[in-house]
Symmetry: C2
Subunit: 409 residues, 2 copies
């Protein structure tokens, strides 16, 4: 059988099958699994890429029934039961799990992509890190006050957890790096968080949203709600009738299922996600499953499931269990999602968390966030190093990985 | 005054002037200082770039007489006393220290550069890391035995410390990653170290060279001495009359002073290094100095100084002191280099060290190497993190940063 994607969904499926009598090929176009909830910390120079990513091959080294293939899937043929890679290689399967995740979408404005990068891969994170750091460097060299202020203006499009986390960390960078500059006052940094919907952190309870609001305002982050972006270019952003001159625009607003889902030839929703059966299989193809961000799945009450790690992890495991049931001649069970809660960090000592109805904010939520994320990282070494990095960052108030690296050939 | 370059030489000069009544502008095309002796550990996936590099701005944050400029110098005009950047900006100076270091040279065979990258910057290290990791991935997918063996063959051109260190670490990677592959036996990895001169580690005493030889042979590294590379292409290397089919060729053989020294219009040696006066000033320009790898400097006995960190560090400090003397109306003193010794690491528990005549090899030299390098890193955080990373690498026998990242936009 074949698993496409070594993210949360694919890895969870592979691990759930470690004792099954199957031969698994897991294909990913990256050689590494990324712990996506901490990707924004790479983008904001707190952690190194190596702290939150591990080779898929290494993670599965002891699982003898699994081989790992570095390859970019270009098409899936559900009828012929085979997967084609970009380099022309063909891999056949009896069972298939598609866990290819999502990439960003600009709602028909692909021309915005060049000016407002999104954050899905390590490469994205390094590109964003470079943009942020270069903006401060250019501002330091700029003599024209208006252009300098433009360089010190950051607009975050999208008020979900990633947007909030980026905004909070940017505010900290501005505060912490002040002694390093001679010509600019980094306190003049302007951070604008733009959300098209009625509120930032829409998936959180109103009390937590209020707490997050207060924290963001304390960091002097400008929040624009019910605000639709109508233009992005090299000079800034247009939000409704307001023009914001900005040197850096980051995009966390729209996600769409990875393009390979279009080759399946089955119905998808507006975001390109495959509309799956209750057991996560593809309609008409009980041997093929789609899990995580690439799937439009619903909970028991018919409500769409969010694009978070837990949905992918539990979905991957469910698809794996369903395959084992099929192999044993049993019928499949519907997927039921267990919501473990949601969290968002805002800044030093500040976060919001909703853990199955237990709603907390402030330092306690922040500590809970830290420990849960360290706990969930893969590998003892990553946990240890991230703990050391965070402790050093907390006590020295430094961003340690502020490296501008260019196109690495 | 202006310092060009934030490497060992430039940083050392800036720090030596921290209490001087001067206004310093330090210009570098990277925003970070790199601890070059550990660069090969980034190239071989042991350390993250952030572990061995720090923003120059951060290092000098408390030195109020110094501003840091991110910029690429295109020309130096010694007559007009000004420095021009690639973007057209001009910076004037009264005193100048050129500490622009070296890049690799292919002895007139620039066409080799594409097939045999060198190791001078973080970008170089990340590119080499990708090549090494991709070679194993491609081998795992290759079905033709000859092509597979070619992919598993690594040739290192240049038998200095960097070549030896890369060879030793590659042998470890091959040994450690064996359980992760299903189709290849990484023990079949072939590593060839090619040195044009009569011996590898030519700067070391014969007893230490012998010890290094034995260690390399224990790791099954093939050593070719008195062996001149006559061709490098996409398929491998020609060494004299021998053809070695190799998937990865790395270049540590030749260095040349950075190209900007050619704009000075003063005599240079064959490697492009500026032939400086005894006080490291440029002949005819007592207000301009060249230090480190960009200078051809000699010791008290007229012997050329090696291209190592200590020569740059001590040279930078000497140029700084000379400027202070000039400002006080005193005459300059000749530069005298204090040789603190040299070290090279070969593998786990194996190194050679020559510390002012004290010659050691084996585990003791290895420990000395570890502690000296941790001690010399900049910043408490880097020391702590590198210590944790090395401890984890030692006990888990893992390379933790095996990430293939592509051109980051």
């Amino acid at each position: 059988m074949v698993i496409i994607g070594g993210g949360f969904g694919g890895l969870s499926a592979a691990k759930a099958l470690r004792k099954a009598d199957v031969r698994i090929t897991i294909i990913d176009r990256h050689n590494h699994h990324v712990f996506q909830p901490l990707l924004y910390q790479v983008a904001t120079a707190t952690l190194s890429p190596g702290d939150i990513a591990s080779p898929i091959r290494w993670i599965l080294r002891n699982q003898r029934n699994t081989r790992v293939l570095l390859g970019d899937v270009s098409a899936i043929d559900l009828q012929a039961r085979r997967v084609t890679l970009v380099d022309g290689a063909v891999v056949e399967y009896d069972y298939l799990i598609v866990a290819t995740g999502a990439s960003h979408t600009y709602f028909g404005h692909d021309e915005w992509a060049a000016h407002a990068p999104g954050l899905k891969t390590l490469e994205d994170a390094l590109a964003i890190r470079r943009r942020i750091l270069v903006a401060f460097e250019l501002a330091e060299r700029e003599t024209d006050p208006a252009r300098r202020q433009r360089l010190l203006t950051f607009v975050l499009v999208g008020g979900g957890p990633t947007g909030v986390e980026l905004a909070g960390t940017l505010a900290e960078i501005a505060r912490q790096t002040r002694p390093e500059f001679r010509n600019i006052d980094t306190h003049a940094t302007r951070i604008v968080l733009v959300e098209a919907g009625p509120t930032v952190l829409a998936n959180f309870a109103p009390t937590l949203r209020d707490a997050a609001h207060r924290s963001l305002e304390r960091l002097r982050i400008e929040i624009r709600e019910n605000a639709r972006v109508t233009g992005i270019d090299a000079d800034g952003v247009t939000v409704g009738s307001e023009r914001i001159a900005a040197g850096t625009v980051l995009w966390t607003a729209g996600v769409a299922a990875s393009p390979v889902t279009s080759t399946l030839g089955v119905p998808r929703d507006r975001a390109g996600r495959v509309i799956v059966e209750k057991d996560l299989s593809v309609p008409g193809h009980p041997d093929a499953f789609v899990v995580g961000d690439a799937a439009a799945s619903v909970d028991g009450k018919g409500r769409p499931l969010p694009g978070v790690a837990q949905v992918a992890i539990q979905g991957g495991a469910h698809a794996a269990r369903t395959i084992v049931r099929r192999l044993h001649g049993e019928t499949s069970q519907p997927f039921s999602y267990f919501d473990r809660g949601s969290m968002a960090i805002i800044g030093r000592g500040s976060a919001v968390a909703d853990i199955r109805g237990l709603r907390i904010s402030g330092p306690l939520a922040w500590l809970a966030w830290l420990f849960l994320h360290i706990f969930e990282l893969i590998g003892f070494r990553s946990r240890l190093v991230v703990m050391v990095e965070w402790a050093a960052a907390y006590f020295t108030r430094q961003r340690s990985v502020r490296l501008i690296t260019y196109q690495d050939h």
